[in-house]
Amino acid sequence: MSQFLQVLLSGLSTGAIYALAAIGFTLVWQAAQTVNFAQGEFVMLPAFFVLIGLHWLHLPLWLSLLFGLAAALLVLGVLFKKIVVEPMLPNGGMPLIIATMALSILLKEGVKQFYGAEAQPFPSLFGQTTMNWDGAIVSVQDVMNLVVALAVVAGLTFFLNRTRTGRCMQACAQNPGVAQILGVDIKRMTLYTFLINAALAALASFLISPIYLAKFSNGETLGLVAFIAAIVGGFNQIRGALAGGLLIGVLDNLTATYVTTEYRAALPLVLLIIIILWRPQGLLGVDEGRKV
């Protein structure tokens, strides 16, 4: 039982981090009707900004994290929107999707050339201590990852539903034509969406890199798992992406512990196939009546 709790908690912890990236998928989907295939690299990159702050600029950790967040907002938020999304979007969704694929290769190879191909140790934000919780050995890092990620999701949901700006963003996502005739500043709301996505990716990066180490190729798995989490949960719903992320994290850890580690990587894909066959709109998704 205590082992089960341990496995469950660490599954929830990584799952919550996947959920952060998966929520970014759904936000960008709603704002730009596109799938960002560079999302995994968006989670890989901010860790390297922090490492640059730590090792090249010799900043303390907290300042390096701030530097990493600011750089992520600039590069993955503002520049991504201005340089990639805005020029491509008028040509339709498909060219933009291809462009994000190219961007993912560019980011991956760029980090490899610029920083190196070796996996880099990344400082843990919450230390390596464990606590004994009713017989179960629980890592403080796992608990804190889960708490931080859930708090951010709760904060984001609050912002989108309870503030006027958040509701304007929803209006742009749900019916941009109407948002325009009501005078909503669509460009600004779209920018906010991209900034939020960049911030979520940066946070996911800071939480997952102490576990997986910072490596140029981390985005490959992270992007795929987050994408699957978003689809499994329902692509157009934040709570769907959250559920999908947690589900994949927990199932992944449970299978690895109790069944086999060999098929670990295949599990999210099997889950994806089952969910798509059973509920094409995702666990919590609503039918959009729109085709990709």
Partner: protein, 249 residues
């Protein structure tokens, strides 16, 4: 109060309006009629800044507003209710109304206006916490009209308000529009249900091929045999060919 002078325009390089001209007085209801593809909805988009205007001029209370953005038009006192479904489906009725005042700097005033508007539409007050998507088609249309009134517009552009509504609700919408006119609001409306709309309007405007064909008092248009033929699928320029003008439909 609204003057449209020789406006040419369209989407990209496609021209739809070929010289539309008309002017409408304050506190009046004008219905725009015409066959499909005549450019009725396009005129509204041109006025509201959603169209490329190639040439011509649009004036509101004497002030040139020709290439204003939708936001500038809202600030100038114009509200637009397009054809079809125009609610934000996953937001509540109250929050949809709130979005009608999104451009206002004084949000306390918007809240007060929402209360006032809900007095006119009691159905919306009862359902203010429901998601807009849960309303029926007619209720959604009422929500859209109510939302367009939040900023107290002086000109209301309303495109096909009767589509999808039961005859009772159409009468209700028309009554609402008349009440607004009596309060000094100018209403410009496109309506498929031309006879009923003209019957409650002050003026009528007939568009054909992106040009103004007729512009007169609504009663005069209703009595005009050319307009009668138009309703039956003919064209204004058709010469009456004996007794067979306009096949019964």
């Amino acid at each position: 109060m609204l003057e449209v002078k020789d406006v040419h325009g369209g989407y990209g390089k496609i021209t739809i309006l070929n010289g539309v001209s008309f002017s409408i007085p304050r506190a009046s209801i004008t219905t725009v009629i015409g066959p499909n593809g005549a450019g009725k909805s396009t005129v509204f988009k041109a006025i509201f800044g959603l169209l490329n205007i190639h040439s011509g001029e649009i004036r509101l209370d004497g002030k040139a507003v020709t290439r204003f953005s939708p936001r500038q038009m809202i600030e100038a006192g114009v509200s637009y209710v397009p054809q079809g479904r125009n609610v934000i489906p996953q937001l509540s009725v109250w929050h949809n109304l709130e979005l009608g005042g999104v451009t206002a700097s004084d949000q306390a005033k918007v809240k007060a206006r929402i209360e006032e508007v809900m007095v006119q539409f009691p159905m919306l007050r009862e359902r203010q916490r429901q998601k807009a998507v849960s309303l029926s088609g007619g209720q959604q249309k009422q929500l859209e009209i109510a939302r367009a009134l939040i900023l107290d517009p002086k000109l209301l552009l309303i495109d096909e308000p009767s589509i999808g509504l039961s005859p009772n609700l159409v009468q209700e919408v028309f009554l609402t529009l008349r009440r607004l006119r009596d309060k000094g609001v100018t209403v410009l409306m496109v309506e498929q249900n031309a006879k009923a709309a003209l019957a409650m309007s002050d003026y009528g405007l007939v568009l054909e091929l992106g040009q103004t064909r007729l512009h007169d008092r609504a009663a005069a248009l209703l009595a005009d045999p050319r307009v009668g033929r138009l309703f039956l699928g003919g064209a204004i320029e058709d010469e009456p060919a004996g007794a067979g003008a306009g096949a019964p439909s």
